[in-house]
Symmetry: C2
Subunit: 230 residues, 2 copies
Amino acid sequence: MNSNTHHSIREAIRKRIVAGEWQLGDLIPGEVEFAEEYACSRTTVNRALQALAEEGIVERKRRGGTRVSPLPAPQAQFAIPLVREQVEARGLAYRTKVTAHRVGQPDERTRDQMHLSPAQDCAYLESLHLADGKPFAFERRWINLASVPQFDIEALGELSANEWLVRKVPFSRGSVFLSATSADSQTAERMQVELSTPLFTMRRTTWFGDESVTAMTLYYAPCYELDFTI
Amino acid sequence: MNSNTHHSIREAIRKRIVAGEWQLGDLIPGEVEFAEEYACSRTTVNRALQALAEEGIVERKRRGGTRVSPLPAPQAQFAIPLVREQVEARGLAYRTKVTAHRVGQPDERTRDQMHLSPAQDCAYLESLHLADGKPFAFERRWINLASVPQFDIEALGELSANEWLVRKVPFSRGSVFLSATSADSQTAERMQVELSTPLFTMRRTTWFGDESVTAMTLYYAPCYELDFTI
DNA sequence: GAGTGGTCTAGACCACGGT
DNA sequence: CCGTGGTCTAGACCACTCA
């Protein structure tokens, strides 16, 4: 048995690329050549190179061979965390509180975002996420009752709306917008900050199939930073 | 020949999971079983399921089988774009201008971030990124001359420092911090906004191996949003 | 047309980890 | 222990695309 796994070969080739053995955009050896060099089958090299292609390190074309990416863009992959996890990761106690809720029709902008007809009823929710009792984030959310008819304030229990939705409508997709906004009077009051404080803001709309599930805006406390590695 | 590719099988199984054929956390059929069902080899099913595992849709354990992820967290993958690309994607003309530069030693906080010894010389750069002549982002950057000795203001040409570094030190890794900050007087002047305007801010430190390359802070114009899909 | 990557298959052995 | 996933191999055929 050969100890060369597609994993070890991938790392070996990655190291050679990172070390600059080939210039950006240059052709690197083909699968057969690598297979001879590492004394393994072509299949194994193929897996290794496909993984590097998925990472954006190399680009591959039939007949054209495999080249080092001409302009490798730093890639980041991260999971959108639940606020509960963000709070508990800081060693603080998480609690959430619904500060307002009603059923009604969203404003036109939200209706557009969620592709709703004007008469469509939605649940509206305002919640505060607390870390050790202090405001950590303030959330405004619309939930499409047509796609989540089981939704009810009572059903949440101790969960935040997001935690409930993640369980009830898993594998939803969506778009995220990050920005810096100025605290409006309501947010400032809820978050106990001064009016116009800069707040890191995350806006999300999520979909299940072609039906919108929810649209929300989350305002984080001034201390908050979103961090990830590339 | 069978028309079932690992790709098509992956999508078929994904659809069944998303449709709720199995509950969150439930065991799904094993590789052999799927192979019979889709009339293909176990190898092909294996590739399909491994891909779903990488996406976080299923979790796999030897002997334990494959289960639907109990709490699937929405995953996002995106490339840190060059400011030039962000500007040109909006159909605007990109230009960059170095507004200040010198060689010296960074403040203690930056020195810590970059793991530098006190006497270590760095290049300091302030640049403005313009979109159709209007300020789009303002950047403060330290460059570790020990890891990039070839760096020189003249070497940049029409490129931004980041574009130059991406070519000169490709495949670097690093950490990113996103936040909302209040425009200080210098940034406000350069960006032509009022003092204390909330600005979406990206702080990055990048490494090549165990050597820091650069540390930078980028302040985006108020109109800016970072968007991606999950 | 020919060379490269993309994929499949059947069979084999290994490694982990639940019973 | 033994069933499950993890991986390798050799050979095969296909699909793209460059010359």
